[in-house]
Amino acid sequence: MDLEIKGLSKTYPGASVRALNDVSIRVPAGEFLVILGPSGAGKSTLLRCINRLVEPSEGKVFHNGAEITSANGDLRAIRRSFGMVFQQFNLVKRLSVLTNVLSGRLGHRSVLRSLAYSFPEADKRIAVECLARVNMDHKAFQRADTLSGGEQQRVAIARALAQQPQVILADEPVASLDPKIARQVLGYLRQAAQELGITVLCNLHQVDYAREFAERVVGMSRGAVVFEGPSSLLTDEVLHRIYYREPGEEAKEEQ
């Protein structure tokens, strides 16, 4: 039940720099892995190459021993087992909280029935239970745009949980939240993952959250892995390796 990333590289069309450069990581099932690095280090690209929102240029990803990168197999089935949480929550703001969470069930259901906005009773129960896990069931019938940022992200986590995934890919889930709310949201994510045995790959750029929540940390800089180990080993020297850039380099990369 492992996730294994082997030699993953990505060059975006027209770009001269590799967004991902030969990344290899092994994530045991059930681990809460934090991928730490500055903006532009390739963290988002890495997560998106796993569920193939982005097609990698080279390298392979294995899930439970099966290759999921080049396999022309059922992309829908692959994506079903990977839940995703986004920085900007990406809820459909005009729909109710519950409908947003129910949409996490879509990957499991036939297209025809979902187009009638109708879900089986079992799905409704799953959705409400997932809402209860993030303590948002009391707002099930509110429109998503009436919620605060932290509440929206909790609903987004519930949507990912409703998918009953084996892995959750969280892309900077707390970057637009204040520290108190951020810790609360990460807490909900970690607790739910622990109770349900879900593997989490969580992108962060704040060191203190990584120290607090990670079982293990992968440090990334300029598309490559520069550190791998428990958060207790995040020394100043390691952080320097992850975050330091030559003067003027930033400007060069942005061009």
Partner: protein
């Protein structure tokens, strides 16, 4: 978990809300009944339409094969149609942009100014371009000029309204940010509001240019220039094969403009 009680509560409420939706069915039934009632008022006679379908098909059959030689006569009025649509849109822009800015609620604070601008836009819009064309033909004589004026005035009313809506839907964040820098009202409009709405403005103008080409084909019927005169004449003389050529030419023009505007928009965003 102690949550199972609340989960059941939420599920029960969900079921209750589903039942409440039965009243939506009642509303839908009323809407359908209303539409059926209006169908009588509109004189909808689906049976007669079905019976007439072969006759309509017959007209199109008579248009084949198109009499291609006729296109030699058509080039001049076809190009004239494009001139009318182009200048109609320029006039529409000149009328619609200032009025649209004045009519946008987040740009213009004064309700008096805003509502006056809206009233003018409504007036321009509510009179169709064909009626405007009759007025302008009487005023400035036959030819493409009254056609361009008629399109410009009517489309100005439509575009002004669309511009105002695009402005009202912009993200207020950048506006607040520029206000906070101490920028004046006009500076905020120029640097935070117009740039955000600009891609939509361009889209509207390109689309209404296409609509203009179509409309300009009708303006010829009242002597306001363009290919419409030839279209009406061939129909009146029962020269169906010529009519076919005119219709194909209009289709070709609209298709080319549609492709061109898609390309232009892809360069702007």
């Amino acid at each position: 978990m102690a949550v199972s009680a609340t989960v059941d509560g939420v599920l029960a409420e969900l079921a209750a809300r589903k039942r409440w939706r039965l009243s939506h069915v009642a509303v839908a039934a009323v809407v359908v009944a209303f539409l059926a009632w209006c169908a009588e008022g509109a004189g909808l006679r689906p049976k007669e339409l079905a019976n007439a379908l072969p006759a309509i098909g017959e007209y199109f059959y008579r248009m084949t094969p198109p009499k291609w030689e006729f296109s030699e006569v058509l080039w001049k009025p076809a190009v004239e149609t494009l001139y009318i649509a182009l200048w109609g849109n320029v006039i529409a822009l000149l009328i619609g942009l200032p009025l649209g800015i004045l009519a946008a609620g987040n740009v213009t604070r004064s309700a008096l100014v805003r509502n006056s601008a809206k009233a003018v836009l409504n007036l321009l819009r509510s009179i169709s371009e064909l009626i405007w064309a009759v007025f302008f033909v009487a005023a400035v004589g036959l030819g493409p000029f009254p056609g361009a004026l008629a399109l410009g005035v009517n489309f100005g009313g439509i575009l002004g309204r669309l511009y105002a809506e695009a402005l009202e839907n912009i993200d207020p964040g950048p506006v607040e940010a520029l206000e906070a820098t101490g920028a004046s009202r006009l500076q905020v409009i120029a640097y935070a509001m117009l740039p955000q709405a600009l891609p939509q403005f361009v889209t509207f103008n390109l689309y209404w240019f296409e609509v203009g080409v179509r409309s300009a084909t009708v303006l010829g019927m009242v002597g306001a220039g363009g290919i419409g005169f030839e279209l009406v004449t061939t129909i009146r003389l029962f020269e169906w094969r010529e009519t076919g050529v005119v219709l194909l030419l209009i289709l070709a023009m609209v298709t080319i403009i549609d492709m061109a505007s898609t390309w232009i928009r892809s360069k702007i965003y």
